[in-house]
């Protein structure tokens, strides 16, 4: 009897909260479901069917075909390589700059503005600059010649990924620096004062205080850098079009091209695989972070 009453009370409470919450949530949730959640689930289902219209279940056939495809393997390798190289690089570089900017420099605000400004510049506006710099007849090659170095066809050789990494860092480093600066400024000053009293050197303080306490921020920075590394497709597409040099043919190119050639099965299978990889890496990062937090407490 008692249990039943509690349960019905709980049910009422649940309903009431849901009623209020759904009032606030409904507009967002409906749109979210229609344009993100349902499409996502549909995409995963398609990847196991032989056709999007009245398709029948074919198991992993699409995936087998996908993995056998040379252009998919190329695109996946490039994407993986690009993220794997550029993310550690940008994280290290932005931490370094944030440490430098965190000092009391009198033009600090100006420097910060300079680093963050590229973030707001539309990709399309700056594409021409990249072409001028990295063309076969471009300015970088001119500089190299003046230093007696052989000119390089940047966008049409293995160097193209290097160019892309530069573009990516140029665009995104400001974002990371802002995040790191916030992280650095949240470290209590007395940690450093205590260390000073104990006679710790600068290097010691950097390793044992700064780096330890900036690590939670670093997880978020890495996460955002991975997400932003996928957005480099915009630059690649605007610089080099649908079929760029082999080195910078990314998964997004592959998916776009599969879409245009109406090969929906391969596209959805590739999308599902990519989501799987993102989910795995995010989950791994979050579990490492949780462990790190326990270690800190």
């Amino acid at each position: 009897m008692e249990g039943k009453r509690i349960r019905s009370k709980l049910f009422k409470l649940l309903c009431k909260d849901w009623a209020v919450a759904s009032l606030f949530l409904a507009p967002s949730l409906i749109g979210f479901a229609i344009f993100y959640l349902i499409p996502f689930v549909m995409g995963v289902l398609y990847s196991f069917q032989d056709s999007t219209v009245d398709g029948s279940f074919v198991g992993l056939d699409n995936y087998n075909e996908l993995l056998a495809s040379g252009s998919f393997r190329k695109a996946a390798t490039n994407t993986f390589l690009f993220t794997g190289v550029s993310v550690p690089f940008i994280v290290a570089l932005s931490l370094l700059f944030a440490l430098l900017l965190n000092q009391k420099l009198f033009i600090r605000n100006w420097l910060q503005t300079a680093f963050v400004l590229p973030l707001v510049v539309p990709v399309a506006s700056i594409v021409m600059m990249w072409q001028i710099l990295f063309d076969w007849n471009g300015t970088v090659n001119l500089w190299m010649e003046s230093m007696h170095i052989e000119r390089i066809d940047w966008m049409k050789s293995n160097w193209s990924m290097g160019v892309l990494i530069i573009v990516y860092i140029w665009k995104n480093i400001g974002y990371n620096i802002i995040l790191f600066l916030a992280g650095l400024q949240s470290i209590p000053k007395d940690y450093y004062e205590t260390a000073d009293i104990e006679g710790a050197g600068r290097f010691h303080k950097l390793i044992h205080i700064t780096l330890v306490y900036v690590t939670p921020t670093m997880f978020f920075v890495i996460l955002m850098s991975i997400i932003n590394s996928f957005k480099v497709f915009r630059e690649t597409y605007l610089i080099a079009g649908d079929y760029p040099h082999d080195r910078i043919y990314m998964l997004q190119h592959y998916m776009n091209n599969m879409f245009l050639s109406l090969d929906i099965q391969k596209l959805t299978a590739a999308a599902t695989l990519m989501v799987g990889c993102i989910l795995i890496s995010v989950t791994v990062m979050l579990s490492i972070e949780r462990r790190f937090r326990q270690f800190m407490d």
Partner: protein, 277 residues
């Protein structure tokens, strides 16, 4: 540090200074882009001539863009017409949802929020096909609504405003409820005024992201007269170099001005999105 900062600004500054050159000077400086020059044949001036300072100060490129290429203004306007409804819509929809996620308790809240977060991480191409089918079913294909409506429901606004609302002490809300205010009243009288900086930051970030749109219009807008400037610019770059710098400068100007005006909101928005609630 200063040198690196100057390197960061270099492409932006060059775009602006070059936009003030005469069209003839631009053609003369950059006509080598995309051409193979036979160096073995002893070609001496086989490089483009990147110049910072114009020989002749001129608004000729701007005139070229604005007068001889009316399509430029049309596409600039297309961009405005796409970005404005996305910003207005997302601020409205996301602030309501963010309040629910931050301050209301309901069953399945955290799981639902994680789903929101997950879609934020995915590249656009991942949901391309189902989205295409849904857009087609709704009869929105080849209309700007195909870009605006999904844009409004992007999870980013919910995520960011939730972070801001989490920082509002719950005691404010409880006190208001003691005085008999309902949730709507709390939202409108307490939450909205307090998250104004958050909304400003969201507006700046949304503007940046959507002004930059490439993938969505590429897929959903076959009709090139409806496309935003971002796509048009990449075409202008290949053809008519004479006016390309002015077009690029005009395209980035709203962003750069907004940024210089609202930098602190922008920075605050990014910083708060990084602090775990």
């Amino acid at each position: 540090m200063g040198i690196i900062a100057a390197m960061m600004l270099f492409p932006i500054v060059v775009t602006f200074t070059n936009s003030l050159m005469t069209e003839g000077e631009i053609d003369h400086n950059y006509n080598l882009i995309g051409k193979m020059i036979n160096t073995a044949a002893g070609e001496k001036n086989g490089y483009v001539n990147l110049k910072l300072i114009p020989d002749w100060l001129s608004f000729g490129q701007y005139a070229g863009v604005l007068v001889r290429k009316p399509i430029f203004l049309q596409m600039f306007w297309n961009s405005v017409l796409m970005v404005t409804p996305i910003i207005v819509g997302q601020v409205l929809v996301a602030s309501l949802a963010a309040y629910a996620f931050a301050k209301l308790r309901f069953w399945g809240r955290d799981k639902l929020f994680i789903m929101y977060l997950m879609t934020m991480l995915m590249p656009f191409q991942v949901t391309l096909v189902p989205n295409y089918i849904i857009v087609e079913k709704l009869g929105l294909m080849n209309t700007t609504s195909a870009i605006i409506v999904p844009g409004i429901f992007n999870a980013f606004g919910v995520f960011m405003l939730r972070q801001f609302i989490l920082h509002i002490p719950s005691s404010y809300i409880e006190a208001a409820k003691m005085d008999g205010a309902g949730n709507l009243r709390v939202f409108y009288k307490i939450i909205v005024p307090l998250i104004k900086p958050g909304i400003a930051a969201l507006i700046v970030l949304l503007f940046v992201d959507n002004w930059n749109m490439v993938e969505q219009p590429l897929i959903f807008l076959g009709d090139s007269f409806k496309q935003p400037l971002s796509l048009y610019l990449s075409r202008i770059n290949e053809g008519d170099r004479g006016v390309a710098f002015a077009a690029a400068a005009l395209y980035m100007a709203p962003m750069v001005l907004l940024f210089l005006y609202a930098e602190s909101y922008f920075v605050e928005g990014i910083q708060l999105s990084g602090i775990k609630g």
